[in-house]
């Protein structure tokens, strides 16, 4: 019975967003334009160096990286905005009184509203895959695993930034700050391999590359690549550490919210 609540919530969110069909289609075009900009820039850079790879691998990389990051909500951190709106304006008190898990409830509703965007992101990933010459089954499996890890890491970032709303009403700016950082360091704007020396080593051990760089690279490189293994190891570590901490952080915030509400 409880699962059906979240399912209905998801479907309601989907119905909400599909009401504005023109808006929906235009948002798809908008995403394509934004992506074309990145691909165009890299095709220009590709002409200046041999390190970037062929046009096809470049297209595949950016299509998949952008698709994955959009799919897991790991760039604009839109879910954190939802939390911020609920805490700041209205809605959270009502949710806390209902016999539901507020995070799950908000997350289901959020994914409902993201239904169309997610389809678009899946299409981007599919398109990216079509540019790859050969993909092995094991690579697809690893891509699936990296996608799950990316979902968790993106959720964690959303929870941290969203929960900040309990302390400051200006958490939306924090979301912007985080969004800029994620754009550059996750690999959606520039492949992590373009960094060198210590900066690259630090990045590989951070939770950022899992959101775009790893899922995209795992389909193009050998899986015994040290770089890939490092990011996988670091991502599992970050998931195990940050997920419980983010939930603890949310609960701490809710206690504070209740104290203000009473």
């Amino acid at each position: 019975m409880r699962i059906s609540v979240y399912k209905k919530c998801l479907l309601f969110g989907l119905a909400q967003v599909t009401n504005y069909r023109v808006d929906m289609l235009v948002s798809v075009v908008s995403k394509i334009v934004s992506l074309l900009g990145v691909v165009f820039l890299w095709s220009i850079i590709g002409k200046s160096t041999d390190n970037v790879g062929s046009t096809n691998s470049l297209l595949a990389y950016f299509l998949i990286a952008n698709g994955v990051q959009g799919l897991v909500d790991g760039e604009s951190l839109r879910f954190s905005k939802e939390i911020n709106a609920k805490v700041k304006m209205e809605g959270l008190s009502g949710l806390l009184l209902r016999p539901v898990n507020p995070i799950l409830y908000m997350y289901s509703s959020f994914w409902g509203t993201r239904g169309v965007a997610m389809t678009m992101q899946l299409l981007l990933i599919g398109l990216g895959l079509s540019f790859l010459e050969r993909v092995e089954v094991f690579q697809i499996v690893l891509f699936g695993v990296s996608l799950v890890l990316a979902f968790i890491v993106a959720f964690v970032f959303n929870m941290f930034i969203g929960s900040m709303s309990f302390w400051t009403p200006e958490a939306n700016h924090l979301q912007n700050v985080m969004s800029h950082i994620l754009k550059v360091f996750s690999g959606v704007l520039i492949p992590v391999s373009f960094f060198s020396g210590l900066a690259k080593q630090v990045l590989l051990l951070s939770p950022f590359p899992i959101l775009a760089y790893l899922p995209s690279t795992v389909l193009q490189k050998n899986v015994d690549n040290t770089e890939i293994l490092t990011i996988f190891g670091a991502s599992v570590f970050w998931c195990l550490v940050l997920l419980p901490v983010s939930i603890w952080f949310w609960k701490k915030g809710v206690r504070r919210y209740e104290a203000i509400g009473i």
Partner: protein
């Protein structure tokens, strides 16, 4: 009684002054917002400079532009970006929201030149003082440190003219996209699309574009004027003055389109609400 031209101009200047003063008071009242905005823009600038640093760690030039020239390109693009946020983008968003919520009815009842009023509803000068300069400082520092180009006075002058024309033309284009709210009832995706188009050429010099794309970017969607063509003129890479005339022409055409589309949108709004 019909107003004289001077009275009309005076009224418009007064609207701008009052709106700027109100926007200033409003932004000062929410000071935490300013600090948040500053943090966001500073982080953006720093991450973008890291991005440029990583690219130019591997390549010497991008479309014929070296590191210092790309830094100048970024500076021009940042000026355009902040100016757009100071007076244009926010107002287009507000217009869309007011049409969606019905608040636009109230705006129509005011005895003011409505198009002018909605165009300059908010003029956020606080952004200029608190966000633009502090955030741009790291870029200016790097630019001064790495400057390897010479800027001529005519180049700077003509570049500035193209910048102003391009900035106004792209505002008009974004405004026309925003008017979609009068027909569709929703505005966010249209605004997002126009934003993506307006800032499409923000990382790539004009010399890199194929001819057909260049034609598109200086005419129907004039996103190449405000930054790419401006920088090319400032650096002396483009010197043909016909581009200056063309920019003025594009601006005038877009101003006319904006006015005509506004009239159409108002007619659509009346029929929708009656």
């Amino acid at each position: 009684m019909k107003q004289s031209v001077f009275e009309e101009v005076g009224l418009r200047l007064k609207i701008m002054k009052v709106n700027a003063a109100f926007s200033f008071r409003e932004s000062i009242a929410y000071s935490a917002n300013n600090w948040g905005g500053l943090a966001s823009t500073v982080v953006y600038m720093i991450t973008y400079l890291v991005f440029l640093g990583a690219i130019f760690g591997r390549v010497k030039t991008v479309a014929g532009y070296n590191y210092s020239e790309i830094l100048l390109f970024t500076l021009v693009s940042q000026f355009n970006f902040y100016l757009a946020w100071i007076w244009s983008i926010k107002n287009i968003e507000t217009l869309g929201e007011s049409v969606k919520s019905g608040f636009f009815d109230l705006i129509l009842t005011k005895p003011l030149p409505t198009l002018w009023y909605v165009t300059f509803l908010k003029i956020n000068l606080t952004m200029l003082l608190i966000e633009m300069w502090p955030a741009t400082l790291p870029l200016i520092y790097l630019l001064v440190k790495n400057a390897e180009f010479v800027i001529s006075l005519p180049g700077l002058l003509w570049g500035s003219v193209i910048f102003i024309c391009g900035h106004i033309a792209i505002h008009c284009m974004q405004f026309v996209f925003g008017l979609g709210a009068f027909w569709a009832g929703e505005y966010k995706a249209m605004n997002s699309l126009s934003y993506q188009i307006a800032f499409f050429g923000d990382s790539v010099p004009i010399e890199a574009y194929p001819k057909w794309f260049l034609t598109l970017g200086v005419s129907i969607f004039p996103f190449l004027l405000h930054t790419a063509l401006t920088t090319s003129f400032i650096l002396g890479k483009t010197t043909d003055l016909r581009w200056v005339l063309w920019s003025v022409l594009v601006m005038v055409v877009f101003l006319i389109i904006k006015k005509k589309m506004w009239e159409k949108a108002l007619r659509a709004y009346s029929s929708a609400s009656s």
